[in-house]
Symmetry: C3
Subunit: 155 residues, 3 copies
Amino acid sequence: MAKVDYEDRLKALGYSLPEPPKPVASYVPSVKVGKLLFVSGVLPIVGDRLLYAGKLGKEVTLEQGYEAAKVAALNALSVVKASLGGLGRVRRVVRLVGYVASSDGFRDQARVINGASDLLLQVFGENGKHSRVTVGVTELPMGAPVEIEMIVQTK
Amino acid sequence: MAKVDYEDRLKALGYSLPEPPKPVASYVPSVKVGKLLFVSGVLPIVGDRLLYAGKLGKEVTLEQGYEAAKVAALNALSVVKASLGGLGRVRRVVRLVGYVASSDGFRDQARVINGASDLLLQVFGENGKHSRVTVGVTELPMGAPVEIEMIVQTK
Amino acid sequence: MAKVDYEDRLKALGYSLPEPPKPVASYVPSVKVGKLLFVSGVLPIVGDRLLYAGKLGKEVTLEQGYEAAKVAALNALSVVKASLGGLGRVRRVVRLVGYVASSDGFRDQARVINGASDLLLQVFGENGKHSRVTVGVTELPMGAPVEIEMIVQTK
């Protein structure tokens, strides 16, 4: 079996990883304990601003939410790469929690977070198959429509 | 000390495990890493529909919410059984996160999620004593009143 | 390098750890599996009542929310101490999830949860640098403004 280079695959899919979020005062982008890498919650930020702001079912459409989840997942992968020294150190994506800022009555959280899940499958194949939790919340930091929390198993 | 058969105990309590949720495209029902089994978020689905829909404090009563949490926990156990090959492989329930779809002013999330916690205690005894997080959220996928997230330690 | 006594440092900072929350019927304050200690969700309770009640952006100010997050973190540390037999058994704070009861339009969850994060840094220094997830939710048990979930790596 040929070794797959996940970073090459990302490139082939037309994606480039952003700079990982800067460490902030009070917490860090990730913590590794044993073989588990806990990635801090990431938002759909491009450069230094949100790709979209607002809630699903109101200011943000399903398609925009899907795209936002994908962008948040790319940000998470940039943290993983910076933390581990390369995506090649990923053995398995273990857990994805997707928080969706939801207006009253919006119940399609699963399809929004598919934006993140689909990307993980495209990049990591079988090793990208993760357990997932998806919930709808009132508000997210900065008014983000989605936030992604990730746990990765390392080699 | 006599070995307890957890599946017998479930039966003696009058419960039967449903078919585990089908793997969906973008994620899987559970991921095992080392001795930890991460179970995907489960809803109170019976057959292919929700036992109850709506929010606590509005469409769903406390008693119905308690029942829904129990049914979601049974669904989680069906995933655990399918993933490990039997509930006998469970060493300890580590973590339960209970999300409760809550209307404004509903603050009894703890009693709702007791429906899941009480079941885990009944089935696993001491090994069912788990750490727990309970929160009230705006909306859950499909309009579910509760969602359960679980981490289990295996033998 | 002189060994730092985390409990001395807490005292020097002017804090004293409360009695850990009593184990309740359906779940326990924490579960340890391998080197990971999973702490149950903790509220900003002092004695037997909430320090503040209500939502950020409404009944509870940013400053009060920050204070509430700090108090919840102290309660979490009291659980850690009771579970491990002393804070000296902490190797690293791995994960902090901060749930903030948020009224519509409140988007400053990060600054609220800094009340918990800043305390962890003050007490544990480098070992207190944690990964973090911060979300805004509708309601929390008892009407609490914040809830803290923690995972700690032990020695």
